[in-house]
Symmetry: C2
Subunit: 371 residues, 2 copies
């Protein structure tokens, strides 16, 4: 990190000494990532040896009650952008290389492999100091179970912010919009500028998104360092439960409880009168998921999810596997197959949920629990 200014150098040396800055390798490339917030830097901030700094993407606070929340949080007008259910990436140029880091600040072999399919690189030839922030979503992503219903295969990128290297501020909506247009970049949908009093229009929009199976909205004041807040639909909460109930013992119980709570407050606020179908949906989310896990456990003696993704470079599969294996200690990653199909390598691997496998195995074999 010899090229950082003195103050920064000092800051990161201290963070490193405290174990908050971790040294990572990506092939021959050495970089450092901040593992938690350390003012003024966010968790996931990345620093390369030659001095480039990619700020972490800030967490956006969640409103649980829309009407009160908007009034409470926003005094100025704000844009409403679609919130897409995927994984967060920051895309940028390092020398000649187009790179992508995940929220946690890991260079992602999958993202880097697929960036040329997702983005027109000319933006970086013209603006090598730009960082594009977005979400990668779709059924063939290596991180998330479940994907937006409107993406039928592979993955898509949805850009929602742009900033300059080493800066914290994001471009204004107008600047961002111009860039997206000019380079035909894939952007999240922007539903326009609203005020807190436009609650009826926003609620109507939210109900449409709920019906379409969209995740929700992010509200952004259009001023530098403007306030930001997010709100998710009831459908998104139920979909999460549906997708994860199968691996229930591997997730913190708060994961499910929080979503139940959000979904009910959504119903209450929207005054949805006939909740019978929604009750069945919530019940199904748990019951169907767990019944599937039980069947899988009895049949195959392990509870797992099979992931599939497409890669250009065969070597990236191995790198991805090594990257994923670093995650949660109780989730085991097992390669299933790697085959050429047309222009891609199809890479399939299993995430084996070991707590779920262990617990269901014990319970189903008649062991006793003391609770």
């Amino acid at each position: 990190m010899q090229k950082l200014a003195g103050v920064l150098q000092n800051f990161f040396n201290q963070a490193h000494a405290k174990g908050r800055l971790r040294r990572e390798c990506f092939g021959n490339l050495i970089y450092y990532r901040l593992i938690d917030d350390s003012q003024p830097f966010r968790r996931g901030t990345v620093i390369f040896e030659e001095g480039t700094l990619i700020p972490g993407y800030p967490q956006i606070g969640r409103m649980i009650r829309l009407d009160k929340g908007l009034k409470e949080q926003f005094t100025k007008p704000f844009w409403a952008e679609e919130k897409v259910d995927g994984y967060n990436v920051r895309i940028f140029l390092l020398g000649e290389r187009l790179l992508g880091v995940t929220r946690g600040g890991f260079l992602c072999p999958f993202t880097v492999d697929r960036l040329p399919d997702l983005i027109d690189e000319r933006i970086f030839s013209d603006h090598p100091d730009f960082i594009l922030c977005g979400e990668i979503a779709g059924p063939e992503n290596p991180y998330l179970i479940g994907s937006p219903p409107f993406i039928k295969e592979d993955i898509q990128l949805f850009i929602f912010d742009c900033q300059r290297k080493g800066e914290f501020d994001y471009l204004s909506q107008a600047e961002k919009h111009q860039l997206m247009e000019h380079y035909s970049l894939p952007s999240v949908r922007n539903f326009g500028l609203f005020k807190a009093e436009d609650i009826l229009a926003i609620k109507q929009l939210m109900m449409t998104l709920d019906t379409e199976g969209c995740e929700g909205l992010v509200f952004k004041e259009d001023v530098p360092r403007g306030k930001r807040s997010k709100y998710v639909t009831s459908d998104a909460s139920l979909s999460d439960i549906q997708a994860m109930a199968r691996y229930l013992p591997d997730f913190p119980p708060e994961y499910f409880i929080g979503r139940i709570l959000r979904s009910v407050i959504f119903l209450d606020e929207e005054g949805i009168s006939s909740t019978h179908e929604l009750k069945a949906q919530l019940g199904s989310a748990f019951i169907d998921g767990l019944l599937k896990a039980i069947k899988q456990c009895q049949r195959e003696h392990r509870v797992y999810h099979r992931f599939r993704c497409r890669l250009h470079d065969r070597a990236n599969a191995r790198q991805l596997l090594a990257h994923l294996a670093r995650g949660d200690g109780h989730i085991q990653i097992v390669k299933h197959r790697l085959v050429r199909e047309g222009e891609f390598y199809i890479f399939e691997f299993d995430k084996v949920f070991q707590r779920t496998t262990g617990l269901l195995g014990e319970l189903l074999s008649g062991e006793m629990v003391y609770d």
Copy 2:
């Protein structure tokens, strides 16, 4: 504790020094209770100053899968007794006084007040060294939200074990049965002697109990220190969720997750094909409970449950209030009213669930959360 034998004296002195034995008062009566298991004594063991020792009631392991569980746990025949959803008590004579302690080893002012209504005291005149172990259940109990559907008012006692003071073993079923008959004591239902191979009959019984809204069964080998195990119905798990979802943030999330898991394994084992109604039931349990909490929070700015119980002695209301106030720090106990009605004082008080009140209050007022 001057009357305990030397070894015991030594044991309890050590436990006291380690803070595991707490000194308690009940009026003028001084006693000590063991706050966790400390071999060979159980949590909830009670020792009186004059030397009487009441052993803690042992925790009974839970089977989640009935067929495999019975085969795994039982090689000898076992009795199947109804498991009643109430609070655990041990009833005994201390000198001339008939007393009752809860699972945790607290002398309970409510239980002590009501014992003369629940039990024929002649058993203790004839056998002053007996301890009766049972469950007190019913809509007018001061501890539990929810009660068995077959108890329409007030409370009832259900005895399931009898032992001698200072001994760990329980009387055999034959001895216990004889006592219950002779003194017309209220007992849990005993459904007979089974073997693990009688699984079909046991499952049929369990389905009947599920339909009746009963909690489940306790299986007991009929030999000294015989194995014991319990199994609850799906309906019991769903009822718990139904009763508690309203105060969801005040309970550990595992409370709900464990019950969902049990209930689904029950469904799977029983091969219940039409689960649609059950899905709606599970969904309702959460949604109805939380919607009620939201309404209550908006209307009264606090989320609480009103308890009502009957007492003979007005002074016991104050003692009960003080006893309850010692519980969970985040639950506030507020007296509502205490009035004479016929032969009883009707005592009403509220348990205010402060976490639920606080969290719902924040969320509904539009505050942001970072998760």
